[in-house]
Symmetry: C2
């Protein structure tokens, strides 16, 4: 691990600029830092679907702005009640990725707001939808910072930390979830070093997490997913920390495919396994992971890589984008409200948002 002396750089994966969204198009990383300006809701859907913007919290933010982009040019004198339009747009955006709960959570807020304002003029509702998106965005930054601060107490000095996928600034408003914990431990001079799983098939680890860690000067080493067990046995891994796309009431956790394996491997090696989870990723409507839909993605993601075919083209493929880690394998959740330990059914319940 080569210590990196560069000045850390704060990455902003999503920005709102006057009348549109600007994202770092993550499909071009790490080769090019290409910024994409998005003015239309259809483009937001495509950017989420194609993983130009990705990571559960970032998807929620992008979708919230997307709702505003979808309504902003609608005529304000329509006979049809505007909440019908908003609901239609939200239903459409929700189809972009089925697993992440932040997407439906953000869209649900937009629908609720529209209903609450049903007696107000459409122009005011439009403004309020933009304000909602901005506040979801700002709140996510605060939440990520709090997750980082809360989680870094779990990190021993000189810790070897293994992580999966990308859970950093690229996946959130800022800092990230699991990576926020790592950043905060690093900033707290704990001299951590990070083992980065490449995270096949889409290589969010090798393409994105290494890129972020390099920018922020956190020492790290890249491995293939298949090396994690051996690294745990031979190289000193003190903890595993991952993000999540959806947590059930009992603590069962959907996250990027490969997470379940890491949880088993961590248990085998007596290594704590932490999940960084904003409260918005807890789905209080489902009792267990059995109710989480698992997105299956295109076979081409496994058969090819960066446009290069790596298997016979007619090879049958199974390509689930996520898996579910049973709560028994999870040591603790790190939320913006603190660290949650078992019994998860009881302790997660205390975080359920009170609705008026």
């Amino acid at each position: 691990m080569i210590p990196n002396k560069k000045k850390p750089e704060v990455v902003q994966s999503i920005q709102w600029i006057d009348d549109h969204i600007r994202i770092i198009d993550q499909t071009y990383l790490p080769h090019r830092e290409f910024f994409l300006d998005i003015f239309e809701v259809g483009r937001v859907w495509e950017a989420i679907r194609s993983l130009r913007v990705r990571g559960a919290p970032a998807i929620g933010i992008a979708a919230a702005y997307g709702v505003y982009l979808g309504v902003k040019d609608l005529p304000e004198d329509s006979i049809q009640p505007f909440h019908t339009d908003v609901e239609g747009i939200c239903e459409y955006l929700a189809t972009a990725r089925p697993t992440a709960v932040n997407l439906t959570w953000a869209l649900g807020q937009a629908v609720r707001l529209t209903h609450d304002m049903k007696d107000e003029p459409f122009s005011k509702v439009k403004e309020a939808l933009l304000d909602l998106a901005k506040s979801i965005h700002e709140e996510d930054k605060r939440i990520c910072a709090d997750i980082g601060k809360n989680g870094q107490e779990l990190i021993p000095k000189n810790a070897g930390i293994l992580t999966h996928c990308n859970t950093g600034s690229l996946a959130t408003g800022q800092y990230g979830t699991a990576l926020s914990i790592i950043y905060h431990a690093h900033l707290g001079k704990k001299k951590v070093h990070v083992w980065v799983d490449e995270t096949r098939p889409l290589l969010q680890g090798s393409r994105l997490t290494t890129w972020e860690l390099e920018k922020t000067g956190v020492p790290h080493r890249l491995i293939t997913d298949s090396m994690a067990a051996w690294v745990m046995k031979e190289k000193g891994v003190d903890l595993v920390v991952v993000g999540t796309d959806r947590v059930a009431r009992n603590g069962d956790t959907a996250n990027k495919i490969g997470t379940y394996a890491l949880a088993i491997l961590a248990r085998h090696h007596n290594i704590p396994f932490y999940v960084a989870a904003p409260i918005s990723s807890i789905d209080f409507s489902i009792a267990s992971g059995d109710e989480i839909p698992i997105e299956e993605r295109d076979t081409g993601e496994v058969l090819a890589l960066a446009g290069r075919q790596i298997a016979p083209s007619d090879t049958p493929v199974y390509n689930p984008a996520f898996d579910v880690t049973p709560h028994e394998l999870i040591t603790a959740f790190v939320t913006e409200k603190g660290i949650i330990r078992p019994d998860f059914s009881k302790n997660l319940e205390k975080l359920r948002p009170q609705q008026g």
Copy 2:
């Protein structure tokens, strides 16, 4: 899984043709079936090092022919004793890959033969070295067939089988080791279906195993390494079977990186974990896996894929080519002499070749 109705095709990864070796250059698969003719020992070394020929048994076969290629044009009236030349060539070939024991095993036989024939004319020794290579080659075919026949009794009807790397005809004289078991179960009409791990970094699963299984008509599906745990939990895996590069006296087993993880995951899901091991891959000189050297390969294998960079180019990488699975996680070994169950220290010992 699409049933494949093609006529099965027998793959010959290595052939001896008149005065040279012909191999399928595996670095071109699955895109091109490119045959490489090798006339010189230096090219044999390069072919082994660059994985043009790979798989522990196939490496042993190629190296045995390589010794003959190295000596065949040496003058027969040299003052220097010819066993010095042979030893030099064998030491050189042994440096091509450090982990596979078959390589040193085959080379050891060549050295022994040369010593045994030290009073014979060099021309006769040359002939004997070629005959030795041919007999190692033929014996490997018989051994692989026997492993297949012995192992298929472990396979239930309609079994879901998970395998790693490539252990088929491409890796051996014919049929393979772990894949030979699968082939024989398939030929025995057991209606097996195979989950093929892609096996990063070098993708022997996606590039080679899928190609072989397609040619032989065995139903299969490709997954990334990170999906194995989820497939075990959700998709019905009845057993895992892998090959090996070296087995210690106590049963600790070195094999392609990722094998150790699969053994832990199989144990967690109560799935039997079998290792197909020709007796030549058992290293009776070492007591445990701690004594097995683990080859670390070039960082470029992880940073790039098929010439395409997939991570920032200055990213630090750890790239062990193998890991060691402790014997406790292994259900049984399948050898040409039958199935070996624990206590491995006792039961493997019975296979130790008697030397005169």
